[in-house]
Amino acid sequence: MASAEAAGVREVTSVAGSAAELLAGLPPSPAVWCSGLHKRYGRQTAVQDVSFTVARGEVLGLLGPNGAGKTSVIKMLLGLVRPDAGEVMLLGRPSSDPRSRSAVGYLPELFRYQPWLTATEVLALHVRLARVQVPEQERRDCLAVVGLSDRAGDRVGGFSKGMQQRLGLAVALVARPELVVLDEPTSALDPIGRVDVRDLVLDLKARGVAVLLNSHLIGEVERVCDRVVILDKGRVAASGTLAELLGQREVRLRLDGLDARAHDRLRSAGSLTRSGDWFTVALPSEDDGVTVPDLVRDLVGMGVRVHAVEPVRISLEERLLGILRHEDSAPRDAAAPGAGS
């Protein structure tokens, strides 16, 4: 009897062990997973069928014009706004469970902290609310990272807007987050502060912390983000990696001595526009390594004098404007709405 029980226990233990191994073998759940988010404010639809994913350690940029629904989406992810429909998982837990936010740092667009507390006290408060043990020195380091070590003992009420935003960054970073959500993190910062934020995001990325970055500064997004989701009128207008979104390449050539044959050759390489001596050819997104050299060789062979050949890369700004103005000529996706991961 006793040996049968022991065998039963061994069996249960081994099943539990293999289940644990199985779980450990699974890839970690994404930092953010949201599906079919909808939100209406009165008659106004703010967010409509928004779905995307932020993988662990990934930096995702959220772009779009004012009123596109970016902040509403962020607030729905964090449980601050109740979606009318849709689901959210943060770090593997449904957002209805407050523990899903245990390892989430958040800098709101509207950053206000208790003006009667000192910067150190604000961090201590957030560490307590996050229920983590963060040594005093680590909190001081956090203030130093955002450039507030000299003002640690000063009350927040006396801080400038930029300093309050820096404090907000420290608050977002202090409780050892695995996901950091930054909503317009540089809106009140000077150019040096913006560079600091960029370095900070890159540092988080290097440490494997996922970042969801909502910013109007497209240049910043382009520099630090792995992927981008573009929202327009509450919907996902496009999403994908930067390479996918900026896939369209162009080459500009300064030529003279062209005949009809040379024109045809140019057109065969891609859609052609001309401005004086300058010819711009839109190339396929994939760089096959032969299109441009072959074109130049053939043109020279036809007796065309080639003065200059310049590769042109579409900037994220141009791509964003193109998408928002529906002047889309590049492959729309990477990125039909919902094709996030």
């Binding site: 523990r99 989430v104 206000r112 507390l117 229920r131 608050v171």
Partner: protein
């Protein structure tokens, strides 16, 4: 844990924003004035001659109730105006965003705010009340018959009002919530007096005004119970039939049913506030 953290934060806010100091200054002024007034009572000669000890007790009871009403008013206004901004103001200003994005339940944050305000209001009522009793004792030698019950009921009145202010602040603007809460407090008090006058005049309809208002908002009912605990029982006999309808003497102590209702009322309003706060977009 979250509730205690937020309660501590609320108390720290009251202290750092100098609410405590403003209330302390007001209270000291009120205590000093009452000490001066009570000292003048001793050996006071009326037109009819020196007051008897019974008359002195009656006057002391009335004056004590009057001053305690002043203090309950300070506590009520203080907590109501603190309660409004502490919840709605934080949502409006954006302070709530960073806090509610932490792994906290909104009901726990609300409980923390409420506990902080309750400690603040009750602490004030106890300290200021005891100080006032000591002043009265030192000047005219009067000590209320049941000070603990009276102060507990006064604290209950403060809790009722701050709970209402919290509910209001979850649906209207911070300042409006304070004004409405204090306005309702005053209106219920006046309705209570009107009801008592109705009772004195034998008009059931008018008397019902007081009864209904006391059920809708238990501040006046609790205040009348507190007055009853502060006043000398013989003062009522001294004043005779004419005391009915007098705003600073109370005829009878509170029934346990009414106290139960007050507790249920607070729980109900708190629950409504929690529901409203949990559903609110911030």
């Amino acid at each position: 844990m979250t509730a205690l953290t937020v309660a501590g934060l609320t108390l720290r806010e009251a202290s750092r924003r100098r609410v405590i100091w403003a209330l302390a200054a007001l209270t000291v002024v009120l205590l000093a004035l009452s000490a001066w007034g009570f000292s003048k009572l001793v050996g006071l000669n009326s037109d009819l001659g020196t007051m008897t000890s019974g008359e002195a007790r009656l006057v002391a009871s009335i004056l004590l109730n009057l001053i305690m009403f002043g203090m309950s008013l300070i506590a009520a206004i203080g907590t109501a105006f603190l309660a409004g901004p502490t919840l709605a103001g934080e949502v409006e200003s954006g302070q709530a965003l960073a806090i509610l994005a932490r792994p906290v339940r909104r009901s726990h944050v609300l409980l923390g705010k409420w506990l902080g305000l309750v400690s603040f209001g009750c602490g004030y009522v106890l300290l200021a009340g005891i100080a006032q009793f000591l002043v009265v004792r030192a000047t005219v030698g009067y000590w209320p018959p049941d000070p603990a019950r009276g102060l507990a009921l006064l604290a209950g009145e403060t809790i009722v009002l701050l709970t209402l202010a919290l509910l209001l602040s979850s649906v209207v603007s911070p300042m409006a919530s304070g004004i409405i809460a204090v306005g309702l407090f005053g209106a219920t008090w006046v309705a209570g007096i009107v009801g008592a006058l109705g009772g004195a005049l034998g008009n059931d309809g008018v008397e019902r005004v007081g009864t209904v208002s006391r059920i809708l908002l238990p501040t006046d009912g609790l205040w009348r119970g507190a007055m009853n605990a502060f006043q000398d029982p013989r003062a009522l006999l001294q004043m005779g039939e004419g005391q009915q309808g007098f705003p600073f003497l109370s005829e009878s102590p509170l029934t346990s049913t009414y106290l139960m209702w007050a507790v249920v009322w607070i729980a109900m309003i708190w629950g409504l506030t929690a529901l409203s706060f949990m559903r609110r977009d911030v």
